[in-house]
Symmetry: none
Subunit: 208 residues, 2 copies
């Protein structure tokens, strides 16, 4: 692609209004999309499958050869499970007396269930606002025995390793990999399974 074409697609143009001149800051949507896709570990083909947009189209969007329609962008955000504002977010940069309770790695209070291993963290403190756990979900097993898990309060969950699928009552199942997280109302039915070969390790925190 030529420099000319790029200019044509995202010109830094000025529009004259009754008040003043305003510059349209060229947002590098393509760059951003590529960043997101690669962060999700997807190839163009996989992204194509998830979004329903042709591989070629995705390539052209990423290389700023075309400007996607709103329709296309919805397919993107829907398929990749991201929010539109994220698409537009500027590329991220790389780069009293008190109580205190340390829990060393692997040394939480065990709380086994039939299908997975829970470890309660910070058990020395009582009357906490939050309850943190670390759990191992054995490969290809459910964390529940079939029915939705449901309880008061809110829950935050982050995947430390492995890959899980997060099922919930009102949403599509979604795959979560290392570093991905989800926050949800815990009275909405929810359930996890580990979908990778290895066991999955997660931490989660509840608050009511």
């Amino acid at each position: 692609m030529t420099e000319k074409q790029q200019q044509d697609i995202y010109p830094s143009m000025t529009i004259t209004t009754d008040q003043s001149e305003q510059k349209i800051a060229p947002i590098k949507l393509g760059e951003r999309l590529k960043e997101i896709r690669t962060t999700l570990g997807l190839t163009l083909e996989e992204a194509s499958q998830k979004t329903g947009l042709a591989r070629s189209t995705l390539s052209k969007i990423e290389n700023e050869q075309i400007s996607p329609t709103f329709q296309a962008m919805q397919k993107l955000t829907d398929g990749l499970q991201i929010d539109i504002p994220q698409l537009f977010a500027a590329p991220k940069q790389m780069n009293t007396t008190g109580r205190r309770d340390i829990t060393r790695n692997e040394l939480g209070k065990p709380h086994p269930t039939s299908t997975y291993e829970h470890e309660l963290l910070a058990t020395q403190l009582t009357n906490k606002k939050m309850m943190p756990f670390k759990s191992q979900i054995r490969a290809r097993s459910f964390d529940a025995y079939g029915d939705w898990i449901r309880h008061d309060g809110e829950e935050f969950l982050l995947v430390l390793s492995g890959e899980i699928t997060f099922f919930s009552e009102y949403y599509e199942p979604v795959n979560l990999s290392e570093g991905d997280s989800v926050y949800y109302d815990a009275n909405m039915g929810h359930m996890l399974i580990s979908v990778s070969e290895e066991d999955a390790s997660i931490i989660w925190v509840t608050a009511s």
Copy 2:
């Protein structure tokens, strides 16, 4: 949380993996745009002047006859001086009883400070009981500028990678490595430094 409550979290269950397809409410961009334009008291002609889009084009977008390209949407948001999120603000939450917010790895909302990189997670949901963050602490740097950090509520922190020292007002400093965690009252002065060669990565959750 009590032992009783934990029992409630994992009741005995029977299998019913309901993966019913639930479509996310399509955003009515046209409707939304018309709402915005009329709220601003603009005619199509005036909006056309401000945005540089033809009157006919605006009409067609508002009546959902065409799907605007990203380019066109930029002209819209820039010309009407509105935020992208405003354009996409869903008219109303679906009939869901539950809320859910996925944050992909590295795709939280950046919140840089002078000494370390915060990433807010689950920023789509408001009125949450908890606030989850992921942070990178640069090797050998403080997370604060000398004085204690102090704020309302409680905090839970877990080290994802690297090694940090956790200082707090009423306790001896303590080293935390991967997998270690600490729960503390946040109104007790606290502070972190990264003590290994590599940057440290932590997740932390606050609740007030």
